[in-house]
Symmetry: C2
Subunit: 154 residues, 2 copies
Amino acid sequence: MTGIQDYYPEHFAHCYGCGRLNEHGHRIKTFWEGDETVTRFLPKEYHTALPGFVYGGLLASLIDCHGTGSASLALAREQGIDLNGFNAPRCVTASLKVDYKKPTPIGSVLEIRGIIRELKGRKVITEARLLADGVVTVTGEIIAIQVGDDFGKS
Amino acid sequence: MTGIQDYYPEHFAHCYGCGRLNEHGHRIKTFWEGDETVTRFLPKEYHTALPGFVYGGLLASLIDCHGTGSASLALAREQGIDLNGFNAPRCVTASLKVDYKKPTPIGSVLEIRGIIRELKGRKVITEARLLADGVVTVTGEIIAIQVGDDFGKS
């Protein structure tokens, strides 16, 4: 499985949530399925809130990185970038909103699906929903901003 | 250092973010300092976004658990509960909003400070700010709801 994160420049590939070079992290991968972006993740048994349910902070983290990944996918498509090597646009999160609709059961692969709501210049708004066993348990909105290759290097 | 989390009933003490019984988790502790609630946390070196900066998902997680902890503290004070044993009110997050104002440098203890904006019945709204080296880098708002002892047991 290849995700947009496989195309991030090395400097941007250390994120705990989605960096392919962070051996301690979640290493999520985000890709297109038709017009929606998708990320799948299996929480560890210790990622609990209450016993039997997934920790809300992890769910927020997944939605956050899904949002920057979705924004990168959308920008690459908008800008006609042929992804190869490490040439993906890279974004950071400006704002994250998460609504917990019901407890998320632990034990199965979670699916986060995104719809690009707005793309204007360097700004991308993604609407996300997180499903456990096919049921939406969490929704979110991520505002991501494209940054230059030198971001965070100064 | 004692936090409200030390007074959670056992069933609620397994949260990856703040459960004293989750040996894999962050085990944050939230307490009063005057009229503000405070949590302090030192990220691991691998909790990075870009090299040198803290992963936004972790920051969202800290604000989330700080919010439920703050809500519990506020409810205990409102309800005149003398905290001892495991009698703290326990809350879950209904909604989380996080704004990333600037990159958060990694390497020092982060401080999350909360102000209780509203307490109405079982609902508590906390406004939070996260500081690194005394500078606010992230702000947030958490809507938490008090739940009964049997929450998540069915």
